[in-house]
Amino acid sequence: MSQKTIRQALHEALVHEMRRDPRVIVIGEDVSGGAGTQGGRDAAGGVLGVTKGLIGEFGEGRVIDTPITESAIMGAAAGAAVTGLRPVAELMFSDFLGVCFDQIFNQAAKFRYMFGGKARTPLVIRTMVGAGRSAAAQHSQSPYGIFTSVPGLKVVIPSNAYDAKGLLIQAIRDDDPVIFCEHKLMYDLRCEVPDEAYTIPFGEANVVRDGDDVTIVALARMVHYAIDAADMLAKEGIDCEIIDPRTTSPLDEDTILESVERTGRLVVVDEATPRCGMATDIAALVADKAFGALKAPIRRVTAPHTPVPFAPSLEKLYIPDADRIAAAVRSVHGYAR
């Protein structure tokens, strides 16, 4: 047990599962990292550094570099999954889901249903989400709301290294397609992570902090901003409970509802756009099932309904921060009918 980054945690998860189960393979663009460059193969370990060293231990047969063609990667991985392998495919930027969405939502997500429950599709798609690197509108989105809207897909959005490792191992052992979203600004975040393999069940939210006044539900990087906001608000005497759902499909509705039943106030924070997104989905859930407990309107703190700006100053305004979360909490806390 020691402090590990999310990058190390994900790497360990892949190594554990590839050692444990020969059916687990990795497939994606440059997953060996560095083929054809001066450093040579495995110099980088993929664009994210997560897969470094895998080709040396597991070989080309299980660590498959592909051309830049997401539709082929996802098609090959979905096919491999139904025929008995357990592929971990990499969709480098989730923004590229546009070119391979048929393979994901109309093929992989449907096999179990359309083959009378006889087909299993143990496919994991690891993909980067999130803004904050001035990577502009085509490389900064957080489209997990789209994935979550598709029945047949499971969607994981970890916010720390402990969760990242346990959820990735769970994803690889799961018999359904799982979209595993990694925030591109969080790979170096550290926390205590066991050396052993472990799994975290899907649909079990993490109550990051207990509180009695206001419930904050936040995802990925927003969990950390919510903690900052809660620290500020504690000094003002406002006691926030923070819930990190960890998986949006399945969603741990009970933990969110039980919390709001107690606090009567809800702020949902998401860095994705608001229309048909997770913040809206969770707000609707609570309005529907815990209306009687609400003492104030539900507030959503999200990005605006626009593409992610390239200009750093605009991008900074675009992404929710601790001040905006705190302001929303104050508004529901001080709300009077």
């Binding site: 047990m1 402990y162 346990g166 066991p194 052993e196 393999a197 472990y198 799994t199 975290i200 069940p201 079990e204 109550v207 207990d210 933990t255």
Partner: protein, 363 residues
């Protein structure tokens, strides 16, 4: 009698600071060993700090609600006649050094280590040093060395005190073989060898209590005394609903409910404690290990293992409200029954249990 500092204690591996919840004695009040002085809360657990000695609470320094690091000054203990100026001087002098310069604040780095035994790698925490006969602490079913968070530091004066993670538990190997008592006795024997411990006082809780008694029966020369806290093996009764519930629980709510059976005061079961249990149970092999152990130790809602108290100094400590293993007396032993305590008296009545152990191993 001189002026003494009452400081923030360190309870468990991860504690770095604690909150002063409530003072239970007023300034000027005198106290005797075992009197409750104040309530302290950490991220893991809330507990009452009890007096270790006789004294007078000359001044309260830390207000209720204060969050302070380990070793921070909470109060000054001094004879009633001590002039205010002397107490002022003591407080000033105490507060003056930076936290990092104060030995109490960053005393010996508390990190577990590993040893190799038959089943594989075992984790342990080694505290204290000195000429005293060392103490080996053996936890119960499903627990780990952190269950001694209040016990281990209190005993580690003038002697080594080692808390071991038994096979299948905590940070130790999850392979438990057939899970039988004999397998655990072998592993403890190997751990004693690996740690270079010729002779120890054994303190065991629940399943660890039965293991301690069996270790003493196997190697009577290596065991100076036995303190058995709510031990298994002293009667057939066992709440197997707890055992089964503990094995099955994978989610927070289930775990919380089942852990509540362990204590008399349910508020002791904090969110962090539940999370620690879930983190252990999520490890590959942990649940299988628990199942294997349960099969070897329990059948038909009863304990299968019976141990006889060996011919050694033995004391039994039991909570009156134990909902897991009911109090039972064993012939030839001294049994201390603690009121308002469940199956974890060493956590619920830590100071009392610490006093009993200290007195017993000193004798």
């Amino acid at each position: 009698m001189s002026i003494v500092a009452l400081t923030m204690p360190k309870w468990g591996l991860t504690m770095t600071e604690g909150t002063v919840v409530k003072w239970l004695r007023a300034p000027g009040a005198s106290f005797a060993p075992g009197d409750e002085i104040l309530e302290i809360e950490t991220s893991k657990i809330a507990n009452v700090l009890e007096a270790e000695t006789t004294g007078t609470l000359a001044r309260i320094v830390a207000p209720e609600g204060a969050i302070l690091p380990i070793g921070a000054l909470l109060a000054v203990i001094a004879p009633a006649a001590t002039p205010d100026a002397a107490i002022d001087a003591f407080v000033t002098e105490y507060a003056a050094p930076e936290p990092s310069d104060r030995p109490e604040a960053d005393a010996e780095p508390v990190a577990p280590a590993y040893l190799e035994a038959g089943p594989g790698r075992l984790r342990y925490l080694d505290l204290g040093s000195g000429a005293g006969v060392p103490v080996l602490l053996l936890h119960g079913f499903g627990a780990d060395l952190n269950s001694w968070m209040f016990t281990q530091p209190a005993l580690a004066e003038g002697r080594r005190v080692i808390a071991l993670d038994l096979p299948g538990h905590g940070g130790s190997v999850k392979d438990v073989g057939d899970g039988s008592p004999a397998a655990f006795v072998d592993a403890v024997g190997q751990a004693l060898d690996a740690l270079g411990l010729d002779r120890v006082h054994l303190v065991g809780h629940s399943m660890g209590g039965a293991i301690a008694a069996l270790v003493a029966a196997r190697w009577p020369d290596r065991v100076a005394s036995l303190t058995l806290i709510a031990p298994a093996g002293f009667g057939p009764a066992i709440n197997t609903a707890f055992i089964e519930g503990f094995i099955r629980a994978t989610r927070r709510r289930d775990a919380e409910a089942v852990l509540g059976l362990l204590v008399h005061d349910k508020s002791l079961i904090s969110k962090a404690m539940v999370e620690d249990v879930l983190r252990y149970k999520r490890l590959d092999g942990a649940t299988d290990a628990l199942r294997t152990i349960a099969r070897a130790w329990f059948a038909d809602r009863q304990q299968r293992v019976a141990v006889a108290a060996p011919r050694l100094p033995v004391q039994l400590i039991w909570g009156e409200n134990d909902q897991i293993i009911p109090v039972s007396d064993a012939a030839g032993t001294v049994t201390h029954r603690l009121e308002a305590a469940g199956h974890l008296p060493h956590m619920e009545k830590a100071s009392e249990v610490n006093r009993l152990i200290r007195r017993f191993i000193a004798g």
